[in-house]
C-alpha cells in the first residue's frame, strides 16, 4: 500500500529489562510448544479419519498399509506447511520493516504475480503438467519479478513508496497477461484456478527438497538482518546517523524476502495474509524490536498456516478447503478487528 503511515517501529537502543526479556523468551518457548501441538494435529487429523494407533504405526513402523500412506502424505504436507509458513511470516516481517509500512506483504512486491505468470507460461507454452515441474518456474518467476521491482524501484536508492509502486505496476501488467492466457487456453484455466488459491495438498518429499536450500539460506539471511533493519525502521537519516549501510541492508532484505516468499509460493501457490497478519499480531506484544519480531514470526506463522490447513481439512469433509482460502477467511476478520482497535490518532 502507498499509505504514508508514521513509522510504527523504532528500534530499542537500550536492552529490554531482564524481566521483560525473560517473559519474551518464555513466550517464544510457549509458541514453539504450540507449534509442535499444531504439527502433531496436522499429522493426526484429516479428511480421512485415522485412529491414533494408525498414526503411530505410520510414523514409526511404516509398512505401506493404507494408513501408512495417508500418514506419509500428511507428514510431507506438515513439513511443507512448517517451512512455507515460517518463510511467509519471515518475509512479511522483513518487508514491513524494509518498506516501513505495517501493511506490506509479499504480494505487494509482485512476487505472487510473478510466480503465477511463470506457472501459466509453463503450462501453456512449455507443456509442463506436473506440480513438481511448476516449482522451478514459479520460483524463477518470483525471483525475476523481485529483481525487476528492485531495479525499477531505484535499486540502491529505492524508497519504500517506489518499491510498492513498482510492485503494483508489474503485478497489474502480469495479471493482465495471466487473464489473457486463462481466457484463451482452457488447460491453463483448469490448472490455474486451483493453483492460485494456494494449497498444501500437493506436497511431496521432492517438492520439499527442491525448495529447502532456498528456504534455509533465506531464513539465515533474514534472521541476521534484525539489527540493521531495526536501524532502518527509524528513518533513512537516523539510520545513516547510526552507521547503518542503507543500500546494502535494503538489497539483502529484498533478497531474503524474495527468496523466502518465492520458494514458499513455488511450493504451495500464492498464500496471502500469513505474511501480512502474523508480523502485525506479533508486533502488538513484542513491540517494535525486530530481534524479537523475526523469531516470533518464524514460529507463529506456521501455527496459523498449519492450523488453517487442519481446519480446511475438517470443515469440508470428505473433501477439503484449500489453505489459502482458509487463511484469508480467518485472517480477514482478524485484520479488520486489529484495524478498528487502533486509536484514531494513529490512523
Amino acid at each position: 500500500m502507498l499509505v504514508d503511515s508514521p513509522p510504527e517501529q523504532c528500534a530499542e537502543t537500550a536492552p529490554a529489562p531482564p524481566t521483560r526479556r525473560a517473559a519474551r523468551a518464555f513466550g517464544l518457548l510457549l509458541s514453539a510448544a504450540i507449534l509442535v501441538l499444531v504439527a502433531l494435529a496436522s499429522i493426526a487429523i484429516g479428511a480421512k479419519s485415522l485412529s491414533l494407533d494408525q498414526v503411530w504405526h505410520g510414523l514409526f513402523h511404516g509398512t505401506g498399509t493404507y494408513g501408512d500412506v495417508v500418514v506419509d502424505e500428511r507428514l510431507a504436507r506438515t513439513v511443507l506447511g512448517l517451512l512455507a509458513g515460517a518463510a511467509l511470516g519471515l518475509s512479511g516481517a522483513v518487508l514491513q520493516a524494509l518498506t516501513r509500512n505495517p501493511l506490506a506483504d509479499p504480494g505487494l512486491l509482485g512476487i505472487n504475480a510473478g510466480a503465477s505468470a511463470a506457472v501459466v507460461t509453463a503450462i501453456t507454452y512449455f507443456g509442463v503438467t506436473s506440480l513438481t515441474g511448476y516449482v522451478w518456474f514459479a520460483f524463477f518467476g518470483a525471483a525475476a519479478v523481485g529483481a525487476l521491482v528492485w531495479l525499477l524501484g531505484g535499486s540502491r536508492g529505492a524508497t519504500p513508496v517506489r518499491l510498492a509502486l513498482a510492485g503494483t505496476a508489474i503485478s497489474a501488467a502480469l495479471y493482465g497477461y495471466l487473464q489473457a492466457v486463462m481466457i484463451t487456453d482452457d488447460a491453463a484455466l483448469g490448472t490455474m484456478r486451483f493453483w492460485t488459491v494456494g494449497s498444501l495438498a500437493s506436497a511431496t518429499n521432492s517438492t520439499i527438497l527442491q525448495v529447502l536450500p532456498f528456504l534455509a539460506v533465506g531464513t539465515a539471511l533474514a534472521l541476521g538482518l534484525a539489527r540493521p533493519l531495526n536501524a532502518v525502521a527509524m528513518g533513512d537519516d537516523t539510520a545513516r546517523a547510526l552507521g547503518a549501510n542503507l543500500g546494502r541492508t535494503r538489497a539483502l532484505a529484498m533478497l531474503a524476502a524474495t527468496v523466502l516468499c518465492g520458494a514458499a509460493t513455488a511450493a504451495c501457490g500464492p498464500i496471502v495474509f500469513v505474511g501480512l497478519m502474523v508480523p502485525h499480531v506479533v508486533r502488538s506484544f513484542t513491540g517494535p524490536d525486530l530481534r524479537w519480531i523475526l523469531p516470533y514470526a518464524t514460529v507463529l506463522s506456521p501455527v496459523l498456516l498449519l492450523g488453517a490447513d487442519v481446519a480446511g481439512r475438517v470443515v469440508a469433509r470428505p473433501s477439503e478447503l484449500q489453505v489459502g482460502i482458509v487463511t484469508a477467511i480467518i485472517g480477514g476478520p482478524v485484520f479488520i478487528f486489529l484495524v478498528r482497535r487502533r486509536r484514531t490518532a494513529q490512523l
Binding site: 505496476a169 497489474a172 493482465g176 484463451t184 485484520f335 478498528r340
Partner: protein
C-alpha cells in the same frame, strides 16, 4: 499572478461568479474529443469495417439499412456502455482516492470490485444464471461490499487510512471466496467466470445503456455539487470543518455516490481493472491542478476505456480478448512510466 494555476474568474452582474481553470477546461475538451474519436473508430472496427465518415453519416441517420443495423443496433450501444462505464469508473475512482487521501484508494484495492465479482460468481457458479441475473448479482455484491466497508470503517466518522485498511481486509476475504467458487465450478462456468472477472464490453446492448445513463444523470450532478466541499477536506478535517464544510456528511454522500457508480459500472461490464486507479492520476497530471479533478477524471475514464477496447480489437481481432486485459496491461505500463519519469519521492 496565477500564472501556474491558470484560474480565471467569470463574473456577471448580480453577484454571479464562476471560477474556471482554463487548463482544466482545455484538458476536458480534448479528452471529450478523444473519447468521441475513439468511439467512432470503435464503431468502425470489427468483422465488417466501416470508414469513419460513414459511421458519422449513419449516426446522423443517413446510412444504408445495413450500416444502420451494424452501427446503431450492434455497435453504438457497446460504445455507449463503454463510455458510461469508463466515466463512472473514472469519477468513482477520483472520489475514492480523494476521500481516502491515497492514490491507491481505488475500488480494486478497497475490495468493491472483488465484492461485485463475488456476487457475479455466486450467480454464475451456484445458480448458472442468465446474463441479466449475473448483472443483478454483481450489483448486489458491490453494494453490499460498499456498505460493509463503510460500516466496518465507521468509528466516530470515517477516516481515509482506516477506510483503505478495512478495504484491504474485505478485499482479501472476497478474493478467497471467489477463488473457492472458481475451484467449485465446472469448466464451462469457470471459463465464463474468468471472462466476466476480466471485464468485457462484448455483446452489450441498449438494455445496459439506459439504466447506466439514468444513474449517471442523477449522480453526476450530486457529486459535482459536493465537489467544492471535497476540495476543502483535502486540507485535513479540522481545516475543512473550520471553513464550514460538514465533513462527515459530504463524505457520506460522496461515498454513496461513488459506490453506486462503481457497482453499476462493474455490473454492466465486469471489474475492468485499473481504469478507476489510473484515470484520476492521469487527469491530475494533465490539468496540473490540486483537488479531486472530478470532471477531468470522468472524461479520462471514458476516453481510456473506449480507447482500450478499440486497441484490443485492433491488436487481437474482434472479441478475442476482453477490454480488461488491455486496461490491466496499460495500467501497469502507465504506473511504470510514472515511476521512471517521476523521480520526486512523495509526489506519487
Amino acid at each position: 499572478m496565477k500564472t501556474r494555476s491558470m484560474n480565471r474568474a467569470v463574473r456577471a452582474p448580480g453577484g454571479l461568479s464562476l471560477r474556471l481553470d482554463l487548463r482544466a477546461l482545455i484538458v476536458v475538451a480534448l479528452l471529450l474529443v478523444a473519447a468521441c474519436a475513439a468511439g467512432v473508430a470503435l464503431i468502425g472496427t470489427g468483422d465488417a469495417k466501416i470508414p469513419a465518415a460513414d459511421v458519422l453519416r449513419t449516426l446522423a441517420g443517413h446510412g444504408t439499412a445495413y450500416q444502420d443495423f451494424i452501427v446503431n443496433e450492434l455497435r453504438l450501444p457497446r460504445v455507449l456502455v463503454g463510455l458510461l462505464v469508463g466515466a463512472s469508473l473514472g469519477l468513482g475512482g477520483a472520489l475514492f482516492q480523494s476521500v481516502s487521501r491515497n492514490p491507491l484508494g481505488s475500488p480494486d484495492v478497497l475490495g468493491l470490485s472483488q465484492g461485485s465479482t463475488a456476487g457475479a460468481l455466486v450467480v454464475i457458479v451456484l445458480m448458472s444464471g442468465s446474463t441479466t441475473q449475473v448483472t443483478v448479482g454483481a450489483l448486489i455484491g458491490g453494494l453490499a461490499t460498499g456498505l460493509a466497508i463503510y460500516l466496518l470503517a465507521w468509528k466516530q466518522g470515517v477516516h481515509g487510512y482506516r477506510l483503505v485498511l478495512v478495504g484491504i481486509g474485505v478485499s482479501a476475504i472476497a478474493t478467497a471466496v471467489n477463488g473457492y467458487l472458481l475451484t467449485k465450478a465446472d469448466m464451462v462456468d469457470a471459463a465464463r467466470a474468468v471472462v466476466w472477472m476480466t471485464g468485457s464490453l462484448d455483446g452489450r446492448d441498449w438494455d445496459q445503456v439506459w439504466p447506466l445513463l439514468a444513474l449517471c444523470a442523477v449522480l453526476v450532478p450530486v457529486v459535482l455539487a459536493g465537489a467544492r466541499g471535497l476540495r476543502m477536506t483535502e486540507m485535513g478535517d479540522d481545516v475543512a470543518n473550520a471553513l464550514g464544510v460538514p465533513v462527515q456528511r459530504v463524505r457520506l454522500v460522496l461515498m454513496v455516490c461513488a459506490v453506486l457508480l462503481v457497482a453499476a459500472a462493474t455490473a454492466a461490464a465486469g471489474p475492468v481493472s485499473f481504469v478507476a486507479l489510473t484515470a484520476p492520476q492521469l487527469a491530475r497530471r494533465l490539468t496540473r491542478s490540486p483537488g479531486p479533478n472530478l470532471v477531468p477524471s470522468l472524461c479520462m475514464g471514458a476516453a481510456l476505456l473506449v480507447a482500450a477496447d478499440w486497441a484490443s480489437q485492433r491488436a487481437f481481432g474482434a472479441d478475442q480478448l476482453p477490454v480488461g486485459v488491455v486496461t490491466g496491461v496499460l495500467g501497469g505500463g502507465y504506473l511504470l512510466w510514472l515511476l521512471v519519469t517521476e523521480r520526486r519521492a512523495g509526489r506519487i
